[in-house]
Symmetry: C2
């Protein structure tokens, strides 16, 4: 711990006034209690001299606010979430708010534990990427009127704020592009889950195929989200044997590992099979592939900025009934990997 911090009392003694006055002078803000200009200056200069640092614990105890928010993500070492975390951090820092971060690894028990820990710490609110089988935790928060904003995924039947992607549109854009290029045998590759965003991506694919009268071509492959590379080594050759012409992947990871497999088995993209991935851009390093990869672009920063802005308002007004759902729009970045050759 820092050796003997100066307190408001030390300053009061040094200046020869009451602690109350010091507090007013230092916070001022809502000029409710007027203090003479001169006194404010004096107190502030002494505070600076004595290197005064307010004690947050005491402040929180009195005010009930901590100026801290809890951010619970799937996994902070995943690029997508790390980028979002970074945006939230920047916004928060700007607003004088501190961020506590935790990763659930899609494990409901870890998730619930994190929520409790952060609740104990007295966070003013949450930004959460909910994992499977944890509606009850979110519901509990909502009922307790804790300010919460969900990102990336949400629950349609819960009155809770959220910032999500229009995931159905995302895969529709992908089908549009491939159809436009002349592909018909288009397969959607995803994994087993009930998480809303992934499910929506599948729905978008199916609906879009219908739209083009390709009911008979609708085909979805699902793997378990474990040992993805190995799973793909089995799946991808089968897919090609089926005569599939183009692949749409529901996540970045699935796409990357599949591209590796395609290279391993000597299949060319897009000559042997066309590909559309999720999430590209510099940070995702498709750069290294021999061909440019088409992908659905999510406005990553917006997840962070929007979520923080919605949460701030919830905290400020204290009215958690007045929830807000923000839907972000995907963009298709069409490159070589989805071209008909």
């Amino acid at each position: 711990m820092v050796a003997k911090r100066t307190t408001i009392k030390d300053i009061a003694e040094a200046v020869g006034v009451s602690t109350a006055l010091v507090s007013f002078a230092l916070n001022d803000g809502n000029k409710k209690y007027r203090v003479s200009e001169e006194m404010v200056r004096k107190i502030r200069s002494v505070a600076r001299e004595m290197n005064y640092q307010p004690n947050s614990a005491a402040k929180s105890l009195r005010s009930g606010r901590t100026d801290t928010i809890g951010v619970i993500l799937s996994d902070i070492s995943n690029r997508f979430f790390a980028d979002i975390a970074r945006c939230i951090e920047d916004e928060a820092s700007e607003a004088g708010i501190t961020v506590m971060i935790g990763s659930t690894d899609e494990n409901p028990r870890k998730f619930e534990r994190l929520v409790d820990v952060f609740l104990n710490k007295g966070v003013d609110g949450f930004i959460i990427v909910p994992c499977e089988k944890s509606v009850h935790v979110i519901r509990r928060l909502v009922e307790a009127k804790v300010p919460v904003v969900l990102i990336d995924r949400t629950y349609a039947d819960l009155d809770v704020s959220s910032v999500t992607l229009n995931n159905r549109k995302a895969t529709m854009l992908a089908v549009d592009e491939l159809y436009g290029q002349g592909f018909r045998k288009i397969r959607f590759i995803t994994y087993h889950t009930t998480i809303s965003n992934i499910v929506d991506r599948e729905t978008g694919y199916v609906e879009s195929m219908r739209k083009y009268g390709l009911e008979d071509e609708i085909s979805v492959s699902k793997i378990k989200y474990e040992n993805i590379l190995e799973n793909m080594r089995k799946l991808i050759p089968q897919v090609l044997e089926d005569g599939v012409e183009a692949l749409i992947f529901s996540t970045n990871r699935l796409a990357i590992d599949s591209l590796v497999v395609l290279r391993e088995i000597g299949k060319k993209v897009p000559e042997d099979v066309a590909v559309i991935a999720f999430d590209g851009s510099e940070t995702f390093a498709f750069d290294l592939y021999y061909t440019t990869v088409s992908y659905i672009k999510q406005p990553i920063e917006k997840f962070g900025t929007e979520a923080f802005s919605v949460l701030s308002k919830l905290i400020k007004t204290g009215d958690t009934r007045d929830y807000k759902t923000v839907v972000l729009h995907p963009e298709l970045i069409a490159q070589e990997s989805s071209k008909k050759k």
Copy 2:
């Protein structure tokens, strides 16, 4: 905020005892004050029923401890640091400690501000990746006896705990490999900085070249750490014109962008030029390159686990004089990109 939390007082009233007794029963731990077994059970069960959550602010105010640590990194959206952050988070969570995270972007002012904010929040200690021009901040912390552990980079003249890589050895391993393959014209590519780890990597390269009697072949290219891809588009062709046979990169980012440029200008790795990068493995997605990339592997998780373990001890003993410097060992993962063809 959570609607009306139960306090120790509520429990005391419900059970019909003093708040002191409730506190003892709930914390127990150091059985200093003995409470009857039966009473402990009763109080705990009531606490559970009433869904008691201790108020951290009050606890901190009394104890002076927050069970929170501040982790200040270069940039949480950078894979390397995100992985480290994740490890720290896991270790901390295991120990009931919460983590606050901040990114400096190598900006000394941001860095100093983060330190102050976290200090205000009353963190029990810091894990820090120090940026350039910020020795004074670290020195201030050390002098104030705040528990601090530096990672990735350190200051030789400061009595402070640290967990770093043996960076000189890292580049020596790279030279060893390339020399062994028969390469002589080996260039080290890095960027302008005074950060210890990067400087050490250069030193290791130079020393190693000397060791092999290649004084005359020692050559280092430095760019500014901005617009790296563009800078590389200029640099790499020049390097090749100089007849360089092999490249060692001081960071992962430099390597990636250079590989992209090499592909762009139609140069083959390792046929036209051999390459050794920093940091590979799945998470860094060299996978997508047409050839496997040789790289210097840092034991990333260990940065996190060791740093946390050292910090924990510092916090526990309170003796910050007893600092500890941990040096981790690099490993060379030799693959296709460094082979003589």
